[in-house]
């Protein structure tokens, strides 16, 4: 982006661009930069391409306990019209339809049928502040394990929850 803008300034100084063209080009560049992710998220010519987690289906003995815990501790937003008395939908991240995810606690059997298990989910906390994160966990009665920038706690049904920042929990730093 910096190289691009430097070239624009050169064009402006040499008269190749007028003031209006310069401003419009900067505006367009900003919009394209912001939308860059859209190109990265396009479907391939063949096959399917996963671009995110749509939702997590979580079965437990009492969905209300899970609902209140995840909403209260981790700031997930309960979609009130979708709370059926047997399940709820808790939104987080980008908005619905814009890449957002929802956590779906529901009353249901917890006996695993598959040979695989999702044994924990890790959530990214932006603007991670170690002291504030630990203090907030303590304020909710949670004692974390793990290391700075990557902590584990248990939810009301002893499901393992991990929270992390982008430095400690990043696939490209493994």
């Amino acid at each position: 982006m910096e190289r691009f803008i430097a070239d624009l300034v050169t064009d402006l100084d040499s008269g190749k661009l007028d003031r209006r063209q310069f401003c419009e080009t900067i505006m367009l560049a900003a919009a394209v930069y912001a939308a860059g992710e859209a190109g990265a998220n396009a479907a391939p010519a063949q096959g399917l391409k996963a671009i995110g987690i749509n939702h997590i289906s979580y079965a437990c003995p009492d969905y209300r306990k899970a609902r209140d815990f995840y909403a209260g501790v981790f700031g997930m937003e309960n979609a009130p019209t979708m709370d059926t008395g047997k399940e709820a939908r808790l939104m987080f991240g980008p908005g619905p339809g814009a890449g957002g995810t929802f956590f779906l606690p529901r009353n249901g059997t917890t006996a695993a049928k598959a040979k695989a298990v999702v044994d924990h989910i890790c959530y990214t906390i932006p603007n991670w502040d170690e002291a504030k994160v630990r203090a907030a966990l303590a304020a909710n009665g949670l004692t974390p394990t793990g290391r700075n920038g990557s902590l584990h706690v248990y939810d009301p049904f002893d499901y393992d929850i991990q929270i992390g920042n982008s430095v400690e929990e990043n696939a490209f730093r493994r």
Binding site: E37, I53, P96, G100
Partner: protein
């Protein structure tokens, strides 16, 4: 933002700022102009989650499962060890869809084989036995089109996927785990 650009241009033209300063300022503005979410996130509680960082999927043969997920969802495998491998939903440096803040990495599926009864790394006591179960994960795929997805699943060996609404299908993976394939139109509010 346009007024801001015009103002900085005036400052440059009248000698108030240097050429270098103009370029730096406009570069910063252009790369953050649409990142309002960053400020919103900063004002939120310390524990407000922004995105799934990773899903930890444990199974008897991690490489077999990883190859399945790579094939179905076009995912690269990175950072393999003897026990696990990561399948990020994007390339290094990519921003997750819809996320403006800079310190949120793309979501990753980590597939591993390990003893669930063993203590976690750095711990001495075994993990607790959960009384809850994540019984399926729904993955958002790019450019969901019901007919195209059905055809792709057939090509991939799933001729009869279970349709769930207008924007998703269910299949099972190589370990019999329920996998939902969804369009972005499937949201917490319906779809």
């Amino acid at each position: 933002m346009e007024g801001f650009v015009a103002q900085k241009l005036d400052d440059y033209k009248t000698g108030k700022i240097s050429r270098r300063r103009l370029i730096e300022t406009l570069t910063l503005a252009a790369t953050t102009a649409y990142a309002q979410d960053a400020n919103a996130a900063a004002s939120n509680p310390a524990l407000k989650v922004a995105l799934v960082n990773h899903v930890s999927y444990t199974c008897p043969n991690f490489q077999r499962a990883a190859d399945w997920y790579s094939k179905i969802f076009n995912l690269d495998q990175v950072g393999a060890t003897q026990n696990d491998v990561a399948l990020p939903f994007g390339k290094k440096g990519d921003k997750p869809m819809g996320v403006a803040v800079n310190d949120v990495p793309v979501t990753t599926l980590i597939i591993r084989s390990r003893d669930s009864d063993a203590p976690a790394r750095g711990e001495t006591t075994p993990r607790r036995k959960s009384r809850a179960l994540v019984n399926h994960i729904a993955y958002t795929i790019a450019d969901f089109n019901k007919d195209r997805v059905r055809a792709e699943l057939k090509r991939l060996g799933y001729p009869n996927p279970l349709q769930d609404g207008e924007h998703s299908f269910h299949i099972v993976d190589v370990n019999g785990y329920d996998v939902q394939i969804s369009g972005i139109e499937m949201t917490a509010l319906g779809g």
